[in-house]
């Protein structure tokens, strides 16, 4: 298709679309504003600026521009999106409708509390679900995404150590297979990060781990289920050792979708865990956010939960925005962001939770795990699975079976694009060579999963004889492979006039 040259540059339904700056009709606007009231400017000492340099487009041109751009995107709405560790599940539209109710969308965060009782009730209700589903004592609702939640959890841990006194704890232990955000978070808080090695079965080496543990360790950051798609069987022994050393167990909750409603992290010995509402609770990923990363805390860390807090008593709901002994926030460690959290995301997550209920969540995590194991069972004769099952909600393969074909993991990913699938997560986790991490989620039909399996098998077969076609892929997408090296060598990060 990309080889078909057209006069216009368009190719059927794929429209070639310039930048907004190249569509500029000076003086045009897509908005009609009333003239301002006649008053004398009161800007003070600062001069008014002389133009900004923005392009002018009318509404029909704007609608067409973004509609065409949207058609260059793959999305869950359009097809299977098994991006491991990202939980690309169906985004129910009821949730969108609820978030747009004026009673939520058109409410200012600093209105008098008597005028926002429903908003506070919503946050408190979601907080209640999250605490019950995890078995934890407290929850911080304000973090804006998973990595921000990690930071919140690790700050509470640091605050607890500060409060307790005792020896300086400057080390944080992180498994080799962890998301990059874990070591980045620990480092941002001034900790030295040490990797915990894995055993041959893809899990933490408990003996090696215990050897690293000491009274200078502040916390262990564990992902469970881990990024190899496996449950850390010895998590309770690990938690016990962590607690004996006076440290805390932080859990990266990115993979909570495998166990939500069936296993409570509190029962595993976890002290703090963030929950990605944009993963497990289906709020749209939006091309990279917004997310939301509430953090649940054990009793030991509950006093340190950051501001703001919500209190519910006979007088209704109250937001506590500064430290106060009477409100139990004397030890609150600080503030994560402006205002009270990702309200729009909370609404969607609560709509999801109320829709599923306890029984629906119990079933959805089971279906997510079932689908991943089905994929593993069907594909492990074709691609090499480095670890034995059962897996949790994602299935991991490496590139061993491709050896000698001239086809690598990236080539498989690009060939999948031509086949109409979004590729799996590739080259992560780093502990496996040429990793392919496949997360089908519970919202995929068996028909759809079977089609993916058949495609993967077909690609494996073709790899044996036709490496060249893989290296050329994708040829049917809006763009072929892009030159990332050139992009980084001479960065062009904005449009420039005449460039």
């Amino acid at each position: 298709m990309t080889n078909a040259k057209t006069i216009s540059g368009h190719q059927g339904l794929q429209m070639d679309e310039p930048l907004i700056f190249e569509l500029d009709s000076p003086g045009s606007s897509g908005v009609d504003l009333p003239p301002p009231p006649a008053v004398k400017s009161r800007l003070g000492a600062v001069a008014a600026r002389n133009g900004v340099g923005l392009p002018g487009l009318t509404e029909p041109e704007v609608v067409r521009h973004y509609t065409r751009l949207s058609q260059k995107n793959y999305a869950i709405d359009a097809g299977f999106y098994p991006l491991g560790s990202c939980t690309m599940k169906h985004n129910p539209r009821l949730n969108e409708k609820m978030a747009r109710l004026p009673g939520f969308a058109d409410v200012h965060p600093l209105q008098p509390m008597t005028t926002v009782q429903g908003a506070l009730e919503l946050i408190d209700t979601l907080a209640g679900w999250l605490k019950t589903l995890t078995g934890m004592k407290a929850v911080a609702m304000s973090p804006a995404a998973g990595a921000h939640g990690e930071m919140c959890g690790m700050m509470a841990i640091a605050a607890a150590h500060d409060h307790r006194g005792g020896p300086a704890r400057k080390r944080v232990l992180v498994p080799e297979s962890a998301h990059g955000t874990n070591p980045a978070t620990a480092a941002a808080l001034g900790y030295s990060v040490e990797a915990i090695p894995a055993t041959e079965d893809g899990r933490i080496d408990l003996a090696a781990f215990k050897a690293k543990l000491g009274f200078d360790v502040a916390a262990v950051m564990l992902t469970n289920p881990n990024t190899c798609g496996l449950f850390e069987r010895e998590v309770r022994e690990l938690a016990e050792a962590v607690h004996e050393a006076g440290a805390f167990l932080y859990c990266d909750g990115a993979n909570f979708n495998a166990i939500v409603g069936r296993v409570r992290p509190a029962d595993l010995g976890v002290d703090a865990m963030h929950i990605n509402l944009h993963k497990t609770f289906s709020t749209p990923h939006g091309g990279g956010g917004p997310g939301s990363g509430p953090v649940v805390f054990s009793e030991a860390l509950a006093p340190f939960v950051p501001l703001p807090a919500i209190i519910h008593d006979d007088d209704g709901y109250r937001l506590i925005e500064s430290q106060d002994d009477d409100d139990g926030t004397a030890l609150a460690f600080g503030r994560m962001k402006a205002f009270h959290g990702q309200m729009g995301v909370f609404i969607r997550a609560l709509a999801y939770t109320l829709s599923h209920g306890a029984d629906g969540l119990y079933q959805s995590s089971a279906d997510a795990v079932l689908s991943a194991n089905y994929l593993l069972a069907k594909l492990k004769g074709t691609f090499n699975a480095p670890f034995d099952g059962p897996c949790m909600h994602e299935a991991l393969f490496d590139d061993k079976s491709l050896k000698g074909t001239g086809v690598g993991t990236l080539d498989i990913a690009k060939a999948l694009i031509d086949e109409g699938f979004h590729p799996m997560t590739v080259y992560f986790p780093l502990v496996v060579h040429g990793a392919m991490l496949i997360e089908p989620t519970e919202s995929e039909s068996k028909r759809s999963i079977d089609q993916f399996i058949a495609t993967m098998k077909g690609l494996a077969e073709r790899a044996k004889t036709d490496a060249a076609s893989f290296h050329a892929a994708p040829i049917l997408a809006p763009r072929r492979r892009l030159d990332e090296t050139a992009a980084a060598r001479k960065p062009v990060l904005k449009w420039k006039k005449g460039a």
């Binding site: 897509g30 923005l54 509404e59 999305a75 609820m98 429903g118 091309g287 990702q342 279906d367």
Partner: protein, 448 residues
């Protein structure tokens, strides 16, 4: 359950294929004591759309919406009219249900709008480069300070007293755990602070907001020179993005980094989030920037396209050596911002800014005539501070009972500062009608 496509027959067939009798066997690696035998007791079971709609609508109905009353709140979140086109396009599934553009060949839509967004933010702020967004203005501010610390290899940040206190607290929280030092001034409602005098050889940056939290507009030129003379960076904070349509941008006044809140363009108030962190800087600091950057390149056929670039700064590559731990940011909010700004265009955006300022001046004129009330802000954009001569929070609560949302009492933002009890921040935007202004003037007139 309407969201779960697997049928009972599918499940049986899949279990047989795996070779287990029941799904419980797939959870055998979970310690037995932690496996729940069934749905968690005490929680409700699944519900249909209609029931969920009723429950949530009942909660929504308990809130007073800004659009239903005369409304004057700002303080870092502003009520603007968002064209219908923005939300309609925002809900296209191809935008809404995609993720971070890791596979650029099938994410050119996201990549191109983020490239356009970066270009627009650079123009608005008067800076050379901008990233693809942060969580919100406050976290962007904290990240900017960390970036200044890395760049200057110093670790003391001077924060203006008139910086939004949530931004100050977010930055101070990071400082506490990261180990850098904060020198934060006291709030100065009159708008005068000596920041240049606080810069010393250990100062990595000065953080100053304009318009500031009390509404004062500042010329940063002299402060930028003072920073430069001492080797510190100037970080300018903008919480009302519409102001950039009228005011000289921080970049033109010598700022090294500009961060801000983008909510005003494209996003509803939504009780405080999700919003949009703006982050722009001079090009020479680019390798110290946090967050995603989109760069232009070509594909195998030589056609122009866009990719995530300079990723070696980021956590998924550099891990503990990354410039920030940020991963997911505010992609869809950036789309709302860029679509709103594209609709406005040059004339629409500058006209909107002028309209906002004129509305605020009109409001100041109406309130300025009231006895017992004093306007503290001389030079302002669309928000200013008034001294109501009595406890402002009580005035606000009384007016709320009369159906007027009068503004933000300074004590709501600065609960721990003295001497601010009588101060009220009031904002006007294109949404504020003359009737709204008259209602506020009448209400205040009766109380003061």
């Amino acid at each position: 359950m309407r969201y779960l496509p697997l049928t009972e027959a599918d499940r049986r067939e899949m279990l047989a294929e795996i070779g287990v009798a029941a799904v419980a066997e797939l959870y055998r690696d979970v310690p037995e004591a932690a496996r729940l035998p069934g749905p968690i007791a005490g929680l409700a079971n699944h519900r249909g759309e209609l029931e969920v709609d009723r429950l949530l609508s009942a909660m929504a109905a308990k809130n007073v919406t800004a659009g239903s009353v005369p409304f004057f709140l700002g303080g870092g979140a502003y009520r603007h009219h968002v064209p219908a086109t923005v939300d309609s396009l925002l809900q296209r599934g191809e935008f809404l249900t995609a993720y971070t553009p890791y596979q650029p060949e099938i994410a050119q839509g996201t990549l191109q709008y983020l490239f356009e967004f970066q270009s627009q933010v650079a123009l608005l702020t008067g800076m050379e480069v901008a990233n693809a967004s942060m969580y919100d203005g406050a976290t962007a501010c904290a990240e900017a300070v960390m970036m200044a610390n890395r760049t200057t290899k110093r670790s003391r940040a001077v924060l203006a007293g008139n910086l939004h206190p949530h931004y100050r607290d977010t930055t101070a929280t990071l400082a506490r755990f990261n180990g850098f030092e904060i020198v934060a001034g006291d709030p100065a409602p009159a708008g005068k602070e000596d920041l240049a005098g606080k810069i010393d050889a250990a100062t990595s940056c000065v953080v100053v907001q304009t318009p500031d939290v009390f509404g004062h507009v500042h010329d940063l030129t002299a402060l930028a020179a003072a920073c430069q003379a001492k080797g510190a960076l100037l970080i300018a904070v903008v919480t009302e993005a519409v102001s950039l349509g009228l005011l000289t941008p921080p970049g033109a006044m010598g700022a090294d980094i500009v961060v801000g809140e983008g909510q005003s363009l494209g996003m509803p108030l939504s009780f405080g989030g999700p919003y949009l962190g703006l982050f722009a800087a001079k090009e020479k600091y680019i390798r110290q920037m946090p967050g995603r950057l989109i760069g232009q390149t070509v594909d195998a056929d030589g056609r122009r396209g866009w990719v995530l670039t300079l990723s070696t700064r980021e956590q998924h590559i550099r891990r503990e050596k990354a410039t920030s731990n940020i991963c997911t940011n505010s992609g869809l909010c950036a789309l709302a911002f860029t679509m709103h700004l594209t609709l406005l265009g040059e004339t629409g955006f500058t006209d909107l800014a002028r309209l906002n300022h004129a509305k605020a001046v009109q409001l100041a004129e109406k309130l300025g005539d009231l006895k017992g009330l004093r306007i503290l802000t001389d030079g302002f954009f669309n928000e200013f501070t008034i001294d109501v001569g009595r406890r402002a929070n009580k005035v606000v609560n009384k007016l709320a009972k009369r159906g007027i949302l009068a503004g933000v009492p300074a004590t709501r933002l600065f609960p721990d500062s003295d001497g601010l009890t009588d101060l009220l921040l009031v904002a006007a935007t294109e949404c504020t009608t003359e009737a709204d202004m008259d209602a506020l003037a009448r209400g205040l007139g009766e109380l003061l």
